[in-house]
Point group: C2
Chain length 297, copies 2
Amino acid sequence: MNYADRLAKAIEEKGTPAVVGLDPRIGSIPEEIRSRHGDDRAGAAAAVFEFNRRVIDVVAPLVPAVKPNLAFHEAFGWEGYKAFLDTVAHAKEMGLLVIADAKRGDIGSTAEAYAESLFGVAGADAVTLSPWLGTDSLKPFFERMHDGKGCYLLVKTSNPSSSDLQDLPLGGGRTVFHQAATLVSAWGQPHIGRKGLSSVGAVVGATFPEQAAALRAAMPTTPFLLPGYGAQGAKGEMLRRAFGAGGAGAVVNSSRGIIFAYQKNETEEGWEEAVRQAALAMRADLAAAVPEGGFRE
Amino acid sequence: MNYADRLAKAIEEKGTPAVVGLDPRIGSIPEEIRSRHGDDRAGAAAAVFEFNRRVIDVVAPLVPAVKPNLAFHEAFGWEGYKAFLDTVAHAKEMGLLVIADAKRGDIGSTAEAYAESLFGVAGADAVTLSPWLGTDSLKPFFERMHDGKGCYLLVKTSNPSSSDLQDLPLGGGRTVFHQAATLVSAWGQPHIGRKGLSSVGAVVGATFPEQAAALRAAMPTTPFLLPGYGAQGAKGEMLRRAFGAGGAGAVVNSSRGIIFAYQKNETEEGWEEAVRQAALAMRADLAAAVPEGGFRE
């Protein structure tokens, strides 16, 4: 089964398009965990993995996928990189899809090595990639779509400076990100699954609802990964238009708003209960905002 | 001393702007090395490190810097990532500058984690980065320019599909990569060293000599990293214009043309002698082609 269909199935089973981002910033990991591991890099990496593992155990029944970001793992050297690999393995054991948030982008033969790293070694189901280097830098990833893998290209990112290059005007009201969208849509055509959506998706910042709505209309067969929910300010209602009237495929990511919910919502039941409550609140928020639960029937 | 000045000093001492790219594709590592390590991932990672270490020992007297690409290390999991870290450490012990070819690009707080990973943990002197996400995704790296670190932004890459987004026309004869160049030049202004060059550089494919010449004129204070020499087809003479009439700062990278020279130039003295011969040939080629040795007086 191709990735788009695997994802649609997981969204249906869990009843939500919510994805939990695993951005394990060491300073925000509960003291309870940090205090039991050493202060050195190996200790930090062990704390990162324990934290990820316990977050995964809480959210596994509630969401279809998790999205670990490699940066917060690589920050602790090879021990941290191992924590990333162990995290992917544990998430898969718990029945979750894994989107490796790597944002890689390199020329053809090097891209092949990254594809091997993320899909082959780590075993991720999907990855985030930069389109800046163009088609030949992405082919090694596209080839693995035939093995059930997926990817999300950075079309319009959620950060304020995404305008620097992505919003440059090309004339006729079009911008560079519109052209990126056209490319991503075309790249995805050979990889459309039974539900009418491709395994080649787009990262579209939920912080820019106007652009997200325009892109949704321009890319009807492209599934979206919408970051920026929660801590970055995007709310469920803002996402409505990004899903489109028919509830086309998209997933919505929240990272620190869920995994570090205990910092804002102190509960006597501990930080894991805060994670569970935050995930439930996001599910409810999305269910109210997103037509037909956010997935194509 | 800032990175631009440290690099200029190293180029002067070694008498060449040649950089050796460490892309240790496992299938091309000499059988002599591979046969002494296991067939599993740990064995491959050990072979990768031994190969890198021995290449470094050969080229250390001949070039100012090496450029390990993370992809070929991450392809062997955490053991491969450790091989990357050990490679950087060994290169630094041998007195070389290290440009970590990571091509990372993520939003602000995540970029900070990558900066910590590449500069803090790995100890690289410079890194390659994608400009696709704009200013705020780069600030954590720019802040470390004050600690002697440097970076190279992907402005016009050496691969054929770099035209997909980088060459899009903005009107008035300008393209997206011209605007990327304008941004990179501006980002570099606060980081100009005593030699008049910035620690914020640009990756400009040596495979596109026309564009490289135009960019050289547009970015007089930006040092270039020119990939694509050798195996990708760019020759020393094609680079002349990228350096500019005054011999402004640039480094030229060759990867497989040097490290796997033994495959094209079998010598009885073994693969390391082939590496040495290829590095010497590149030095001579650049000395003939590049005005004033490729560095600003």
